[in-house]
Symmetry: C2
Subunit: 392 residues, 2 copies
């Protein structure tokens, strides 16, 4: 086991009707004037917006608002938010949404207290101050509700950059699984692939003797798969939504990966897919990850064997490689079962684009990437090519 | 799944040589004058005391010290600590030790900023301020390094009382598993029973549909059992000590029990054993818990069946009750294997004392207790009686 630092100070308020706790939580953190930050109209259609505004009014918490966050949140809205926060002397940012809204809120929280251009904070300069951020989570998967990271896109230069700071770890995260009933089917399951991938990136490690986190990773994966199958039939099943919502936090707040080196090669390869095609991150991962596993199988047959047995329920046996393969095939089948793409064709990608994907990948990662297996651009090409085929 | 609040803001610095990070962590939290609080001479014999003092000197952090904490930490030393902290204008309490030292540090941290008798804070009054507390953990098991709870014994009245406050959750906890090599064998394994019991108390629940935390509880139990067996042969096996050290935190920081009602009946029944006999909490739990399980088996055969299959590796079958029984017997055998007592006789308890145990239990819990099964004093008597027998 490697040395590690684990720090997750966010207070989670989890369960039915917890959005009504927002006033109490804001007051606990001394909020007097809040920026309510959100995306499109879904929180208005669902009634959540009205519920939150009513709490703020009832509790005499002054607020201003800024909607319009889009997936891959943009610097342009961050600048607008910073200006608003300064003008109105906002002292707390409340993000209502998923990863994009939370990331945008974090950028505003740091940028408002930074004298220069906030983009510097995504370009090497470390933030020294930030306004506190709180979250009402409407889409589980990204894990931003408990993380110290934020990714922003600089529109005019087409740049997408992330930064990390404990200053922007949310003070609280309200997670009401009932709010997730109305997430469209595709996004629900793309989110599920995303959270499973967060576990896989940690599970595929060369660090030895991390029995506890190995077992925890497997436990979270089994819980996600079982609950996903329930949601497939009953989108409004509270218990399954609740297990998924908490699993997404556990998958990415770090506790599943302490003491081990993570990989993250698939996230890098998928990033180029969602940059080039109009495909969600989770859907892209559903295509890339099983093929990455097939490609790296020989690197650690024992690890893939244990995944096959402990997570995918394949019967133990002496031909470990064959059993490991069966486990990966079962992952592909599971993604198909939940309506996710598993080939390039299904996401509008084609063989002729592979050189473009590789060119961009090289710009972003250099000549090699990944730690479970150190991949070259040749490896990346081979894995992308595998995504052209149906393997089962 | 029940609604829950989860809050664990402690920063964990985990791994080899992490005690040398204490200066950096103290400075991060603005400590200028520290109370170094500890127990007996073990940290001096091991060299840890000298290492920490050297860091404080090197970093120019002023300190005073107070040793002498004993198991079941006493109010008398807390009063002494409060006086010292006020006189020396200490602004940070550093606990070096296990649960008792940390609990004593928490009492001093609250008491120093409370105008009245600190015992009031253990008698219904809520603390509103506390000095920050940091921890270097020398004995895993109690979980106090990340909890909001503290238990103190009032010597002159023979009272043992606990209280909870988020104000005393440690700011940081340094966990170096190498420091645990020298824990005596008996205490190592009593600690392991204690952490397993923390999981059992959460696992035995009537809350339905908590798949994720069920699986996580099972994962942590399996990891503990596997690592315990390694430590039995190789007390200085770093990886096994590391898995155990982190498991003890996971077992009790709340993450294994979110969204479900816990039980805690066995902790209540054991409390009377360690109060009456000179037996450690973990050893007492090794006697009580398997018998509690035997007694409550019929209440939820499915739960005990799943424990037997998923944790104790008993082969699935149609006679669930028989398999569940085998699982409980395997727990007893495991406790015997690690040198823990499993009968009253082994801890010096006898049948004639049962009325005394029951009398004290009734004073402490009233006429009934527990939530998995609501136990009466008659039930408690039956369970204590079962502890007289060898069941396997």
């Amino acid at each position: 086991m490697l040395n590690f630092n684990f720090y997750s100070p966010t207070e989670f308020e989890f369960g039915k009707d917890t959005q009504f706790e927002v006033g109490r939580l804001l007051k606990k953190h001394g909020a007097t004037k809040v920026l309510v930050h959100y995306g499109g109209g879904s929180i208005k259609r669902s009634g959540l917006y009205d519920e939150v505004i009513k709490v703020l009014n009832d509790e005499n918490i002054y607020y201003v608002e800024l909607g319009g966050v889009v997936p891959n949140p943009r610097d342009t809205l961050v600048y607008k938010g910073i200006k608003l926060v300064r003008k109105e002397q906002v002292d707390f940012i409340l993000a209502i949404g998923g990863g994009s809204v939370i990331d945008s809120a974090k950028a505003i929280a740091m940028g408002a207290l930074y004298e220069g251009d906030f983009w510097n904070l995504y370009d090497g300069t470390k933030a020294t101050k930030a306004l506190p951020v709180g979250v009402i989570l409407t889409i589980p998967a990204a894990g931003s509700e408990a993380s110290n990271s934020t990714v922003i896109t600089k529109v005019d230069k087409g740049l997408k950059r992330g930064t990390n700071s404990d200053l922007v770890r949310p003070k609280f995260a309200i997670i009401n699984p009932e709010l997730h009933y109305t997430i469209p089917k595709y996004h629900t399951f793309a989110g599920i692939v995303d959270m499973m991938s967060h576990i896989f990136e940690r599970y595929l490690t060369n660090t030895k003797n991390v029995e506890l986190t190995d077992l925890m990773c497997e436990a979270v994966l089994v819980a996600i798969i079982n609950s996903a199958r329930v949601i497939l039939k009953e989108p409004n099943n509270y218990e399954a939504r609740a297990n998924i919502a908490w699993a997404s936090t556990i998958a990415h707040n770090g506790i599943s990966g302490v003491g081990r080196q993570g990989d993250w090669a698939c996230h890098r390869m998928e990033h180029e897919l969602s940059a080039l095609y109009d495909v969600s991150h989770g859907a892209g991962l559903a295509v890339v990850f099983p093929n990455y596993m097939r490609y790296t199988l020989d690197h650690d047959v024992d690890r893939y064997y244990r995944l096959a047995v402990n997570v995918f329920g394949i019967t133990k046996g002496s031909d470990k490689k064959e059993i490991a393969k069966k486990g990966i095939d079962k992952l592909t089948k599971f993604y198909q079962e939940i309506g996710m793409p598993t080939t390039f064709n299904e996401i509008g990608a084609s063989e002729k684009d592979i050189p473009i994907l590789l060119k961009q990948l090289k710009i972003n990662v250099g000549s090699s990437f990944g730690s479970f297996v150190k991949l070259t651009m040749e490896d990346a090409k081979n894995i992308y090519k595998m995504c052209l085929l149906t393997h089962i």
